[in-house]
């Protein structure tokens, strides 16, 4: 059965109105015969047939307007049986040519990345980078305008310094510098500092650490800062005059050691957010907090409690080349522990010269609360702890 | 000065004074504009009409307020002759908010819908189809009005010129085509741009009654315009005037005039339409001694007033930048 359809007589013809049929069912038609007259937007046009056969059914009435491609009649080919079935409906069949296969490159349909409600607004580049760095995008704190960009992801991953300085909490570096300046000026002006130093043999600590780290899987390996922080925290618990806040002439010793960790920021500036209740954390927990803190300092997203809750501070965790340092106390704290770099030097042990790994630790204390004897006791305590790293 | 035989012009003393005043207003106004351009008060392109004043002034005498005018980018003269207030035209040149087009158009695009002044069109030939359409609307609405379309001889090379003439003639539309043939399409002399240098010939080839007129003679222009508009109003379809004229100044302010000689310009300046007319009018007693000075004084006051107005007028605020892109009520798409 052949379908006789409303033809397209031009690209701008979308429909036509049947004026009349020139043949009736049962008539023989042959290719080229005019079998209908159709009125178009332009004029009435005679429509020819392109097949031989017997006109079977007329599906469109004169006066009826139908879209291009509508089957208007069926034509029986020689050999076809008369159609006894239901008449097909006058509906447009595929009138338009099959969609051409585009030879032009089509961008692959990308998975929709429209954030579901409540999901973070992360840029495509940030999402890709997060996958590369193994960062869960939901765990990344958004930056300005609530957007997680490349910078936020890299900071969250603690990725190594991208080119641009980040701003902690929206504070500019100028403001940061000013704030540090003001705090340190106040410290220098108001706090009568004293300093007590001691050079400690950290060879046992480093040896233990090396052995420990070969044992641990890579992601769980420790920096020496972790046992150092733990030892300082524990030693401070035994030195209440070095761990607390001095405000308006009154000293409040702290119950826990919220140990401020001085972290240098990219692009300058220094900030000392605290690891809260550090004395209660094991090495793995301290390591995790440390990583998190550094990443968030660089990403500029510290919590305010971390900024104000420090009860004492530890600084210069072996970074750089300074053998020893004389730090200023962060008010309202009353002590700060400055650790120089670890160097290998000759050291006399039991009357013999040995090569030892040494670190000079300096405690700055507030003379209004304590005196040097207190700090010296702290240092002895610390030394003892460091000599038995396995107990930390 | 020769008075045309066909004249129906009633040249009263008042009318003579009015013709002189209208031409002088254009001349002095534009002289001031040239100075203001150099002072950077007026920017963009400034095309002066000086030398051609008899055309706008003569033609306008035959038009009533119900008739329409379509002009070119050299349209200060047409605007003033049509009766647009010099202060509004000057403010437009300054780009001020009180200008006839609120400052949006500048020198080349002066519009005044209430005076049926359909603007300066800066696309050569662009006004002709517009005039045909205005006339078509009049004809379809059975209004007895004329649309007068000014253009230069340069436009005769454009397809739009020929298409418009054909349409107007075919549909017998009430259009008065006024070709101000000043011999130069910008810097191209008519002999270098037209195969037929009598432009009226083209009109005749479309079956349009056409005349060649001395465009330096305001009375001749007025006579021709009256005759043509009478015929148009009588239902005769379009008419065409080719006014032979000359611009005394450069095409625009930034034009070295390498394409014509100074002596040619000087030769034409001897036919200065204002000088010729005032001499003739004085000689024939139409213009009393001292009358021109009075007129000049009045014009200078008007121009000073216009400049003062333009100086003081406000700029349109930048916040209104997107206004008048669509009719406000239509709430057209904004990006």
């Amino acid at each position: 059965m052949i379908e006789f359809k409303m033809p397209s007589l031009g690209a701008d013809m979308d429909a036509g109105t049947l004026v009349e049929w020139l043949k009736k069912p049962g008539d023989a038609v042959k290719r080229g015969d005019i079998i209908a007259v159709v009125d178009t937007q332009k004029s009435a046009i005679e429509i020819e047939v392109f097949a031989d056969g017997i006109l079977d059914r007329l599906l469109v009435e004169p006066g009826q307007r139908v879209p291009v491609g509508t089957v208007m009649a069926t034509i029986r080919e020689p050999g076809d049986l008369a159609d006894a079935g239901l008449p097909p409906k006058a509906v447009p069949s595929s009138a338009s040519p099959p969609a051409a296969k585009s030879s032009a490159p089509v961008a692959p349909a990308s998975a929709p990345l429209v954030a579901a409600r409540g999901e973070p607004r992360a840029t495509p580049a940030a999402r890709r980078r997060a996958v590369e760095l193994g960062v869960e995008i939901a765990s990344v704190l958004p930056g300005p305008e609530g957007v997680i960009g490349l910078g936020e992801v890299e900071a969250a991953a603690g990725a190594r310094a991208p080119a641009k300085p980040q701003r902690p909490g929206g504070i500019s570096f100028d403001e940061m510098r000013k704030a540090i300046g003001a705090a340190m000026a106040r410290s220098h002006r108001e706090i009568p500092h004293y300093y007590v130093s001691s050079t400690l043999d950290v060879s046992p600590l480093m040896a233990w650490l090396e052995a420990e780290n070969t044992r641990r899987p890579v992601p769980e390996r420790l920096l020496y800062a972790a046992p150092l922080i733990r030892a300082v925290a524990r030693a401070l618990m035994d030195s209440p005059e070095l761990n607390g806040h001095y405000v308006d002439g009154r000293y409040d010793p702290a119950e826990h050691v919220n140990l401020g960790i001085a972290v240098a920021m990219r692009g300058g500036g220094l900030i000392a957010p605290a690891i809260l209740a550090a004395e209660t954390l094991d090495l793995a927990a301290i390591m995790e907090r440390l990583r998190d803190l550094v990443a968030r300092v660089r990403g500029g997203r510290l919590r305010s409690s971390e900024m104000t809750a420090g009860t004492a501070t530890i600084t210069n965790l072996g970074e750089g080349t300074a053998d020893s340092l004389m730090p200023l106390i962060y008010p309202p704290q009353v002590a700060i522990v400055g650790c120089g770099r670890i160097v290998e030097r000759p050291w006399i042990v039991d009357g013999k010269i040995e090569a030892a790994k040494l670190m000079t630790v300096t405690v700055a204390g507030d003379h209004r609360i304590s005196d040097g004897r207190r700090a010296a006791a702290f240092l002895m305590n610390l030394d003892k702890l460091l000599q038995s790293p396995e107990t930390l | 000065m020769r008075m045309p035989d066909t004249q129906k012009v009633h040249l009263s003393r008042e009318h003579a004074a009015e013709l002189l005043r209208a031409m002088l207003l254009i001349r002095r106004f534009e002289e001031r504009c040239a100075a203001l351009y150099s002072a950077e008060k007026i920017r963009g392109f400034l095309h002066l009409y000086i030398g051609q004043e008899a055309n706008a002034v003569g033609i306008m005498q035959a038009l009533g307020p119900e008739d329409a005018v379509v002009a070119t980018y050299r349209e200060h003269g047409h605007a003033l002759a049509r009766g647009l207030p010099p202060s509004e035209v000057m403010a437009e040149m300054f780009g001020k908010a009180t200008g006839s087009s609120r400052g949006r158009g500048g020198s080349m695009h002066i519009f005044d819908a209430k005076r049926r002044f359909y603007g300066g069109n800066a696309i050569v030939g662009g006004g002709l189809p517009l005039a045909v359409g205005l006339a078509l609307a009049d004809k379809m609405q059975k209004r007895c009005r004329v649309t007068c379309c000014f253009f230069g001889e340069g436009a005769a090379a454009e397809g739009e010129f020929h298409e418009s003439l054909n349409l107007a003639a075919l549909w017998k539309l009430p259009v008065l085509f006024v070709c101000e043939n000043n011999r130069y399409a910008m810097g191209t002399a008519i002999e270098r741009s037209e195969s037929v240098i009598e432009i009226a010939t083209h009109a005749r080839s479309y079956g349009i009654g056409a005349e060649t007129v001395d465009g330096m003679d305001v009375v001749a222009v007025e006579c021709a315009a009256r005759k043509a508009t009478d015929e148009i109003r009588a239902g005769g379809g379009p008419r065409f005037l080719e006014n032979r004229t000359y611009r005394f100044r450069a095409h625009s302010m930034f034009d070295a005039e390498l394409y014509r000689s100074k002596s040619e310009v000087e030769e034409w300046k001897k036919k200065d339409p204002i000088v010729l007319f005032s001499h003739w009018a004085e000689a024939t007693g139409l213009l009393a001694a001292g009358r021109q000075e009075e007129i000049e004084a009045g014009i200078m006051r008007d121009i000073e007033g216009a400049v003062a107005h333009a100086e003081q007028a406000p700029w349109e605020p930048v916040a209104d930048l997107l206004s008048d892109v669509y009719t406000p009520a239509s709430g057209g798409p904004t990006s």
């Binding site: 961008a107 990308s110 840029t123 495509p124 580049a125 940030a126 999402r127 890709r128 930056g143 300005p144 305008e145 957007v147 960009g149 490349l150 080119a163 641009k164 | 920017r43 963009g44 392109f45 780009g95 001020k96 400052g103 949006r104 158009g105 500048g106 080349m108 695009h109 069109n121 800066a122 696309i123 050569v124 030939g125 662009g126 340069g154 436009a155 090379a157 454009e158 397809g159 739009e160 399409a185 910008m186 810097g187 191209t188 002399a189 270098r192 741009s193 037209e194 070295a256 390498l258 394409y259 700029w315 349109e316 930048v318 930048l321 997107l322 892109v325 904004t334 990006s335």
Partner: protein, 329 residues
């Protein structure tokens, strides 16, 4: 390079025209006021005297006619350079350009070739109001069969014409009218022809990519300079060719900077900026750390007064703001 010398963009165009007329007998220049007047922008000053009326042809004001004649002459073996005074006037010839120049090769099944070069001025900035100021490059860049270039530098104004003339297909050259007085160093001699298919990185940077062309290049470079003072490093890509677009250069830059801002004097809707933004989304989506920004002309015919014209078109301040927006700082 055989030693530099300073010439203006206008002189560069004139030199290129002179070189073309000298090198190839088939080359001729035609357009409104190109002869006696010396060109509306004085680009062809002196060429009539040098090459004569046959080869430097003043045309009547009949854009459709003389552009179409250029197409015919190209079919007939000549190498015409047709100058159209401004892009607004070119609309009178749009039929010939789009329906003939761009289609003849295809319609004839590859039998015909239209080696035609059309030059025209474009752009705002001179208070010429709404019939002389538009940037319609995008309209031409829409049309398959045309090549569209926008020399933004003196060297490109000097070097693109010959390459365009050597091209077997129609090439439309857009010269932003605000550039004609720009001065810059070009080589004294030798072959100055440059390619007409690639984009050029005019300034290296790491934080954001400014994609631009024509008259907006200067503004983009100025904006990059302003931003550099704040430690923001912009890469500036000069498209040079508007059709075809050099996707590779654009995407390479975006992969580096992760942020793209398109500066385009055309109207925003349906603009080249829209096209570039879409391509960037298609080809560099996962490199993007911010939505692609656009600095385009406001959706209004260009108004006459200076302050409104300035407000309607891309300016340095707007570009700077768009970059900051993309960087979220």
């Amino acid at each position: 390079m055989t030693g530099g010398r300073k010439i203006t963009y206008r002189e560069a165009v004139r030199e290129a025209l002179r070189e073309a007329l000298t090198r190839d007998e088939r080359v001729f220049l035609m357009g409104e006021d190109v002869g006696r007047y010396g060109g509306a922008y004085a680009c062809s000053m002196g060429l009539l005297a040098e090459f004569g009326e046959e080869r430097v042809r003043d045309t009547p004001l009949s854009e459709s006619g003389f552009v179409g004649a250029g197409i015919g002459a190209a079919l007939g073996g000549m190498r015409p350079i047709v100058e159209i005074m401004t892009v607004n006037f070119s609309l009178l010839a749009l039929d010939q350009i789009v329906n003939n120049a761009a289609t003849l090769r295809h319609m004839s099944g590859g039998q015909l070739s239209v080696p035609l070069v059309i030059r025209m001025a474009t752009g705002a900035g001179r208070q010429l109001a709404a019939q002389h100021s538009h940037s319609l490059e995008c309209w031409y860049a829409h049309v398959p069969g045309l090549k569209v270039v926008a020399p933004a530098t003196v060297a490109d104004a000097r070097g693109m014409l010959w390459t365009a003339l050597c091209d077997p297909d129609p090439v439309v050259i857009f010269e932003h009218a605000a550039l004609y007085n720009d001065e810059s160093e070009v080589a004294a001699g030798g072959d100055l022809a440059v390619d007409i298919a690639s984009a050029a990185v005019r300034r290296q940077g790491t934080d954001a990519t400014l994609v631009t062309y024509g008259g907006s290049l200067k503004k983009s470079l100025a904006a990059a300079e302003v931003l550099a003072k704040d430690g923001i490093s912009c890469e500036v890509v000069d498209l040079r060719s508007l059709r075809p677009l050099d996707d590779r250069t654009i995407m390479a830059s975006v992969a580096k900077t992760h942020r793209a801002i398109v500066v385009d004097e055309g109207w925003r809707t349906g603009s080249l900026a829209a096209e570039i933004g879409t391509r960037t989304m298609e080809q560099a989506f996962f490199d993007l750390d911010a939505p692609v920004g656009r600095v385009c002309s406001a959706e209004v015919p260009i108004p006459y007064p200076k302050h409104l014209e300035t407000a309607a078109t891309p300016q340095v301040d707007g570009i700077v703001a768009a970059v900051r927006g993309a960087l979220r700082r």
